[in-house]
């Protein structure tokens, strides 16, 4: 399913006309809601990483990571403008709505992407800058251009891009990598499929119209519900790993267990309710809860570390020395 097979219905302004939007349209182009989650997970990576980081450098790291995430969003909207115009959820985005010209979105995204990577490298750390460049490149070239229109595994593999910000934050603070940031990566990576498939369950018509092979469109809704349950189980299991790795204490694990129980309940309801409005409601509930869940997990990690609750249990985890 190539890009050329997708019909477009873009307005003239978005195809070749002038940009007519104001500054806020460029903010919208950067997907601010996604940016906020990226910044928050990157911040938690910064805080959990070993070694002190000067507050000014921490702010510089977060600003540049946010800019990189925003650039990814802009480049995604540039490439996907044709299918965005066909989906109810995305039709009002700045390019399909004709407020920003497609070429301007590309120029803006590319400039901010390059600037964010160079600034992160100069101001904070080049390992972190390299990871940010990899994240932006992976999101644009691997997810957006290659996988999204070709395979129902698009968001599984592409989810790696969304899972990297806490690793970038960790690298910015410590200049190193290790098993701990890998656990943060895995939490977001395993969270992504159930989050997006819950959305795809009640937006399947949108994706079908746009020719995007999301799992419910290609494999059916029952298979999607089964996969959601499998990924949810894996997610909840991995969410308990931070204590084992010495990243958090028992207080975090209790919160993670409670949040995970809620996640499994919501995923189980999606699995059980397969017909009519009840099925859509269950999918919507899981989608909304998944956002609260990820925020809650990283907030619990932050609180555990920030309030020193980790010191209540032996360093190295409850099985550690």
């Amino acid at each position: 399913m190539g890009k050329s097979s997708v019909d477009t219905s873009l307005s003239p302004a978005s195809l070749g006309g002038a940009t007519r939007g104001d500054a806020l349209d460029f903010v919208a182009l950067m997907k601010p809601r996604v940016m906020s989650l990226v910044v928050f997970t990157a911040f938690v990576g910064l805080v959990l990483a070993p070694g002190p980081l000067h507050p000014v450098l921490a702010v510089a790291a977060l600003v540049t990571i946010a800019a990189g995430a925003g650039a990814s969003g802009a480049l995604n909207m540039w490439y996907d403008a044709d299918i965005d115009a066909l989906m109810t959820r995305t039709a009002r985005r700045p390019i399909p709505a004709g407020r920003i010209a497609r070429g301007d979105a590309l120029g803006f995204g590319a400039t901010v992407a390059a600037g964010s990577v160079v600034a992160l490298g100069i101001l904070v750390d080049w390992l972190a800058a390299g990871l940010l460049a990899f994240t932006i490149g992976f999101y644009l070239f691997v997810y957006t251009m290659w996988l999204k229109r070709r395979t129902p595994q698009n968001i599984v593999i592409g989810g790696a891009a969304g899972a990297l910000p806490p690793v970038v934050g960790w690298a910015a603070a410590s200049g190193t990598l290790g098993v701990e940031p890998l656990i943060l990566f895995l939490i977001v990576f395993l969270w992504t499929p159930s989050h997006f498939w819950a959305l795809a369950l009640y937006r399947a018509g949108d994706y079908m119209r746009a020719g995007v092979p999301m799992l419910p469109v290609v494999a059916g809704k029952d298979e999607t519900r089964r996969q959601i349950l499998i990924y949810s189980l894996a997610l909840v299991a991995v969410s308990l790993a931070p204590q084992w790795a010495g990243l958090a204490g028992i207080v975090y694990s209790v919160f993670a267990g409670l949040l995970g129980a809620g996640y499994l309940f919501a995923a189980g309801r999606v699995f059980a309710r397969r017909e009519g409005e009840a099925a859509d409601q269950a999918a919507r509930a899981l989608f909304r809860y998944s956002i609260v869940y990820l925020f809650g997990i990283f907030l619990a990690l932050l609180a555990d570390q920030g309030l020193g609750l980790s010191s209540l249990v032996p360093r190295g985890g409850m099985w550690g020395a």
Partner: protein, 47 residues
């Protein structure tokens, strides 16, 4: 040359102001980070 109406001029002005503010903020950020790096942790050293 394309004639712009009042609304288009307002939007272009808002874009220009945003670019100016971002560039100004970047100058300030680079300046402060340079000061922090040059200080070499002087503020944290014991007297």
């Amino acid at each position: 040359m394309t004639q712009l109406d009042d609304e288009e001029i307002r939007r272009r002005r808002s874009r220009s102001i945003a670019i100016a503010l971002i560039l100004g903020a970047l100058v300030v950020l680079f300046y402060i980070v340079t000061m922090v790096r040059m200080s070499g942790g002087i503020a944290e050293r014991a007297l």
